[in-house]
């Protein structure tokens, strides 16, 4: 790891000021950033430690009945907070499906949003080609081992996937990411926070230079009784998703009143399956209906050499997650 300078920021103003210096980056839990620094993938000159800024911590109720998760709330604390468990069990499940207990004790809500892809070609500087790490160098994954890669929304520049579980649940819950920066505060709808690779795969999010995530706001809870985060992976625990599904339903007896479905492991960002959601409204959760709706989620999928299995796996995972969310499994 390169030598770095370190500054502990006392408040948001000091953090923004310190981050305006060349080569500076914020550090929260550090679980992804330090790993990438050890591998030489990311090489900041200065780390601005935001973990002692009280204003970024804590979970508070919002006037509209929603919940505000401070950017520094640890993944384990968010997952086990009584209000999150009662009102947003989907989020609690997704958080608990990610990483290990030790890493969840370190990783923050804001940092989880900023996780880089786990594409092996991005992660290993021994591979010269990676448009995300070295723009213009090419994509080694397109002609390489791409079993873990995207089947939806990829580009000829990049087929990486977003590794976060938490973000898949937040996409389904229509969370809002609040940020502050040199040009003031703004609120970013979750669907607009992460981006597709297009011809700028080096950019994972729509955060602007120097901006700091302050909180994630959840709208009032609608889905606590019928939700499921289903994660399919190569081993039972402590592995990234091949495919994951965040399914949330509002039921009127046996009929779907509204549905939210987001997929992980299939795209450069959490992937909302809106056609599937719409196809379920007014329907019952019988298997034929679910299979028809699930097929809509992968229309236009462009699998790579090694990951065609994800197209059928995603559909089956959607069906199972909806059955479990609806209590018909």
């Amino acid at each position: 790891m390169d030598a770095i300078s370190y500054q502990r920021a006392a408040d948001i103003g000091a953090a923004l000021s310190a981050a305006s210096q060349p080569g500076a980056m914020f550090i929260g839990g550090g679980t992804n950033l330090l790993d990438l620094m050890k591998g030489g993938v990311m090489r900041p000159m200065k780390l601005v430690d935001i973990t002692h800024i009280d204003a970024l911590n804590g979970i508070t109720a919002l006037p509209d009945g929603g919940l505000r998760l401070g950017a520094l709330v640890r993944n384990s604390d968010a997952a086990n907070h009584a209000w999150v468990r009662e009102r947003y069990p989907l989020l609690s499940q997704a958080l608990l499906a990610g990483a290990s207990a030790q890493l969840r004790n370190m990783a923050t809500v804001g940092g989880n949003l900023m996780q880089r892809t786990r594409c092996a070609y991005f992660y290993d500087t021994g591979f010269p080609q990676c448009n995300k790490r070295a723009p213009g160098s090419g994509c080694a994954a397109i002609d390489g081992n791409n079993r873990m890669h995207a089947i939806l929304g990829a580009s000829r520049q990049c087929i990486a996937t977003n590794p976060s579980d938490m973000s898949v649940a937040l996409a389904a819950l229509d969370a809002v990411v609040r940020v502050t920066g040199p040009n003031g505060e703004r609120a970013i709808p979750f669907a607009e926070f992460h981006r597709l690779p297009g011809d700028r795969p080096d950019l994972d999010t729509t955060l602007q230079a120097g901006e700091l995530i302050t909180s994630v706001d959840l709208p009032p809870p609608l889905f606590a009784d019928h939700s499921k985060y289903l994660k399919v992976r190569d081993r039972a625990s402590y592995a990234f998703a091949l495919v994951s599904v965040a399914a949330a339903l509002q039921m009127d007896g046996g009929t779907v009143k509204s549905a939210r479905i987001a997929l992980g492991g299939v795209a450069h960002k959490p992937w909302r399956a809106q056609a599937t959601e719409q196809a379920l409204v007014g329907k019952s959760l019988d298997k034929a209906t679910l299979q028809t709706a699930a097929a809509l989620a992968v229309q236009g999928a462009t699998p790579q050499r090694d990951n065609a299995f994800k197209v059928s796996l995603a559909q089956r995972a959607i069906v199972r997650a909806l059955q479990q969310a609806g209590g018909v499994a």
Partner: protein
């Protein structure tokens, strides 16, 4: 760090042979601006530095930690991980470096009551905090902690390299379960898990890899302590 330095048998001959660890300790001590409150590694070296400090050294930063109840004042580089601070600067080599990338759990310690991977955090980020390592689990020198006794009784290790991390992790796991924390295998996260089943233990210990494959006995040891049968 060479593989030999992280081998479980490296401790016994460390006193005789020069090693990178001892070099780092000496270099760090030479750069220290104040002596440690207790007679720990850096202080004793500060009086008689064994080797000259490296040229154009990276600036050192002071870090105060309470490790296993004892105050330490270390001088470390900003990039020094908590793991390296414990092993190379505080000379507490019970905490092991396995993958050094947050994947194996050998470096697990308890910081301010929470188990973390000490390889993926910087020592300077923990200035003023308290750390418990495997050396601090036993209440005194002659009495092992219940989880340590259970690991022996249940034969929960073979080579022992992952054991310090397993013990710290299991200690925190039992606290987390008693608080009512849920896990990925908890049937409904809206309620406390009904019991600490084998599945719950396996899930909650999944951040600690055991290459010898002592998992069934590790589960048995954790279960014995959690259910008061140790």
């Amino acid at each position: 760090m060479s593989p030999a330095d992280t081998h479980p048998h490296d401790v016994s001959d460390a006193a005789q042979k020069p090693s990178r660890r001892r070099f780092l300790q000496s270099a760090a001590a030479a750069a220290a601006v104040s002596a440690a409150p207790l007679a720990h590694a850096q202080q004793q070296s500060a009086a008689t530095p064994a080797v000259a400090p490296p040229p154009a050294a990276v600036p050192m930063m002071p870090v105060k930690l309470t490790i296993n109840g004892h105050p330490y004042e270390l001088q470390v580089e900003a990039r020094t991980t908590l793991l390296d601070a414990l092993r190379e600067y505080a000379n507490l080599t019970g905490t092991k470096k396995g993958c050094d990338r947050g994947q194996c759990g050998a470096c697990t310690v308890i910081v301010s009551g929470r188990r973390i991977n000490s390889c993926l955090t910087l020592a300077v980020m923990h200035d003023g905090e308290s750390v418990t390592t495997v050396e601090g689990l036993a209440p005194d020198g002659d009495t092992l902690a219940p989880i340590q006794r259970a690991f022996i009784e249940k034969d929960a290790f073979q080579c022992g390299y992952c054991t310090p991390g397993q013990l710290c992790s299991a200690t925190a796991l039992i606290d987390e379960y008693r608080k009512g924390d849920a896990s990925a295998v908890t049937a409904d996260v809206r309620f406390r898990p009904a019991q600490l089943s084998d599945d719950e233990i396996r899930e909650r210990m999944s951040g600690n890899i055991c290459r010898c494959g002592a998992y069934p006995n590790i589960v048995a040891a954790v279960k014995a302590v959690a259910t008061g049968n140790a």
